[in-house]
């Protein structure tokens, strides 16, 4: 095979090629133009479960309830056994999803008419729980809790195909609400 890598296209050789064709003054200009190679060292993204907190547990819970209130969420009264768990419900009704006649073009130009889909659940459930990792080191975890209708009538229909629902569910509304809550907590604190 005569497949090869073009030597002059390798960064080190390209730099030598450019420098040898420039006058010393032009080389000066190059130095001043910040024409250094883009650094590819990736500052490793460090991921944590949930969000960490060193505040007192009751303070953390207070901040979370206040943030939920500011965001218009509702929650069920915590039971004695589950003081450190908050069961949240959020009205989640951005622009109604549409039944794309043809699912295959999800970047439709704005002017396309799109009829809204009826009876999709508009209440997102989320479970927020405080964990203690070690003395003075706590973790707040967020867990998706499924969807409900704000109109209790429609909830009676029962959730058809529960497992089936989990096999193709979009995490983005949940992730979006989690960012909203984290921002509210970050801004408040």
């Amino acid at each position: 095979s005569t497949i090869a890598i073009l030597p002059s296209s390798l960064p080190q050789l390209h730099r030598a090629y450019i420098m040898e064709h420039l006058t010393p003054e032009q080389q000066q200009v190059i130095q001043s133009k910040n024409l250094t190679p883009l650094s590819t060292k990736k500052s490793k993204t460090r991921w944590h479960f949930g969000i960490r907190s060193r505040s007192y547990p009751l303070d953390v819970m207070g901040e979370i309830y206040r943030a939920l209130q500011n965001l218009g969420a509702e929650w069920s009264k915590p039971s004695e056994e589950e003081l450190w768990t908050i069961r949240v419900r959020w009205k989640y009704s951005p622009a109604k999803p549409t039944v794309d006649a043809d699912l295959d073009d999800f970047h439709k130009p704005e002017e396309e008419e799109e009829e809204p889909v009826s009876n999709t659940p508009d209440m997102m459930k989320m479970q927020i729980q405080l964990f203690q990792l070690e003395p003075n080191n706590y973790l707040v975890d967020f867990k998706f809790g499924g969807w409900e209708f704000s109109n209790p009538e429609e909830n009676k229909a029962g959730v058809e195909g529960e497992d089936d629902e989990m096999s193709s569910f979009s995490a983005y509304p949940f992730l979006h609400m989690a960012t909203r809550l984290i921002m509210e907590l970050a801004v408040n604190s």
Partner: protein, 32 residues
């Protein structure tokens, strides 16, 4: 939910979701 520390006013959150028999770590970047 997995999170990263907030840098440059940008927040990243992620969750691992099963799609049929495969697992997708879905990562959303949003501005603070």
């Amino acid at each position: 939910l997995a999170t990263t520390s907030i840098k440059h006013n940008t927040l990243a959150v992620a969750s691992i979701v099963r799609y049929k028999q495969k697992y997708s770590t879905q990562i959303l970047y949003a501005p603070l």
